[in-house]
């Protein structure tokens, strides 16, 4: 029974901070003076159930558990009285960062509620459904043939650059790697080169291969469609 109640609550938590705020409210704790041992114990109870359910965001809850335990251990450390008397600034409540996180999150929870209370289109209010006009009437904004040319050029130039943009460094690296390999073994098979590599890496290797071929450093030979690609070095070794 208790388990069920826990499950129900866990469903509606938006993350570890939300769970902590719930525990603080339920226990009527002072957010600026959280009994850390107490709340950690309760939090870990919930964490056990979370582990059993196996939720997607478990890692985030675990990270918070670690933080709570770290704070708890710091709180247990005896303090040097001299230090306390001397440096007021130096002495920090180990809970300080947690309180800050909770306050910031609470602020945005509040902001989310405010947003939710605004009248929303298609939930609280509706506009007039305006009939679509006849084709041919449309006027278009700021359009010139040059706009069109630019769009076309952009589209074309974007095509090969998508992959390159993601791992620019890698292409350069792979080109170097490929050149060195070719220098050593004169020829190699593309499948051997990319074996066990991720899809992205395979793509980057392929780009590197194109680059090497374009520079005239190697020849690529493919027997048939979808067949393996034999890469041969064109650089005369020793020169």
């Amino acid at each position: 029974m208790r388990q069920l109640i826990l499950n129900f609550h866990l469903d509606i938590f938006e993350g570890p901070l939300d769970l902590l705020l719930y525990l603080i409210r339920r226990n009527e704790f002072d957010i600026f003076d959280i009994p850390i041992a107490d709340i950690t114990a309760q939090y870990l109870e919930y964490l056990k159930v979370l582990e059993q359910i196996g939720i997607d965001t478990l890692a985030d809850y675990m990270a918070m558990a670690a933080l709570l335990m770290e704070i708890k251990s710091k709180m247990l450390l005896p303090r040097d009285e001299e230090e306390v008397r001397e440096g007021e600034e130096g002495e920090e409540d180990p809970r300080g960062r947690l309180v800050e996180m909770l306050l910031t999150y609470q602020t945005f929870q509040w902001a989310a509620e405010q947003l939710n209370e605004l009248p929303q289109l298609d939930r609280d209010e509706f506009t007039r459904p305006v009939r679509k006009r006849e084709p041919g009437e449309a006027r278009f904004e700021d359009l010139s043939p040059y706009e069109l040319a630019r769009a076309y050029a952009d589209t074309l130039s974007r095509r090969p650059s998508i992959k390159v943009e993601v791992e620019t460094m890698d292409v350069v690296d792979k080109v170097r790697e490929l050149s060195e390999l070719l220098h050593r073994q004169r020829e190699l098979l593309f499948t051997n080169l990319v074996e066990g590599k991720s899809r992205m890496e395979k793509a980057v290797y392929f780009l590197a291969l194109l680059d090497v071929v374009v520079r005239g450093l190697a020849l690529a030979h493919q027997e048939r469609l979808f067949g393996d690609i034999l890469v041969k070095s064109r650089v005369i070794s020793g020169s």
Binding site: P129, E137, S144, P145, L148, A151, Y152, V213, L219, H221
Partner: protein
């Protein structure tokens, strides 16, 4: 009771595209009779009929009631709507550009260039009368081919397709290099 539901019926009328019939209101107000609902609609109708200085009124259409702007103001409404420029989405602009420079072209070919599904953009261009179909390509599947319309020339202020701006020099070179890379791959293939 009837007085209370009047603004509700007005809101329903306001937000619906088709004429609102007394019958269709029954599902919202099951406790009211058809006669009562007719009376509410008629009251609203008469209220707008007698109101002065309003830009719209209620018309009885197809057995229902519908808000419409008054015909005397239609020229202004049209003038506003025509003056108000429409926007082409980025996707639509790209698809339009590809068709303009590569016509006639099929949808698979367009999608091959853009790398993403382009059916939505294509549909909106057809609706806007900027693009139309023109026969089918003689390849397996016989896909439809698309070309630009004369309205397209009009919108972009072009005399003919030959007036389309040439692509930038670097752009052409880049494309040539790209093609060249693939070609050399191809020719090496042949050589050995």
């Amino acid at each position: 009771m009837e007085a209370d539901i009047r603004p509700i019926v007005e809101a329903i009328l306001f937000a619906s595209e088709d004429p609102v019939t007394p019958e269709s209101l029954k599902k919202v107000f099951p406790a009211l009779t058809l006669e009562e609902l007719v009376r509410v609609l008629e009251d609203l109708f008469l209220e707008y009929e007698h109101a002065k200085g309003r830009g719209f009124h209620i018309r009885k259409v197809k057995g229902g009631y519908q808000f419409r702007t008054k015909p005397v103001y239609s020229q202004w409404v049209l003038k506003y709507q025509e003056a108000k420029p429409q926007k082409l989405s980025r996707a639509a602009l790209e698809v339009l550009a590809i068709i303009a420079y590569r016509q006639p072209i099929t949808r698979p070919e367009i999608e091959n260039i853009r790398g993403v599904d382009s059916s939505g953009a294509l549909k909106s261009l057809i609706e806007k009368n900027l693009v139309k179909t023109s026969g089918r390509k003689d390849v397996p599947g016989r896909p439809l081919m698309y070309v630009t319309t004369s309205r397209f020339l009009e919108v972009f202020g072009l005399n003919s397709l030959e007036d389309l701006p040439p692509l930038k020099e670097e752009e052409i070179k880049e494309r040539a290099a790209e093609a060249g890379a693939l070609q050399s791959l191809f020719s090496n293939d042949k050589k050995e």
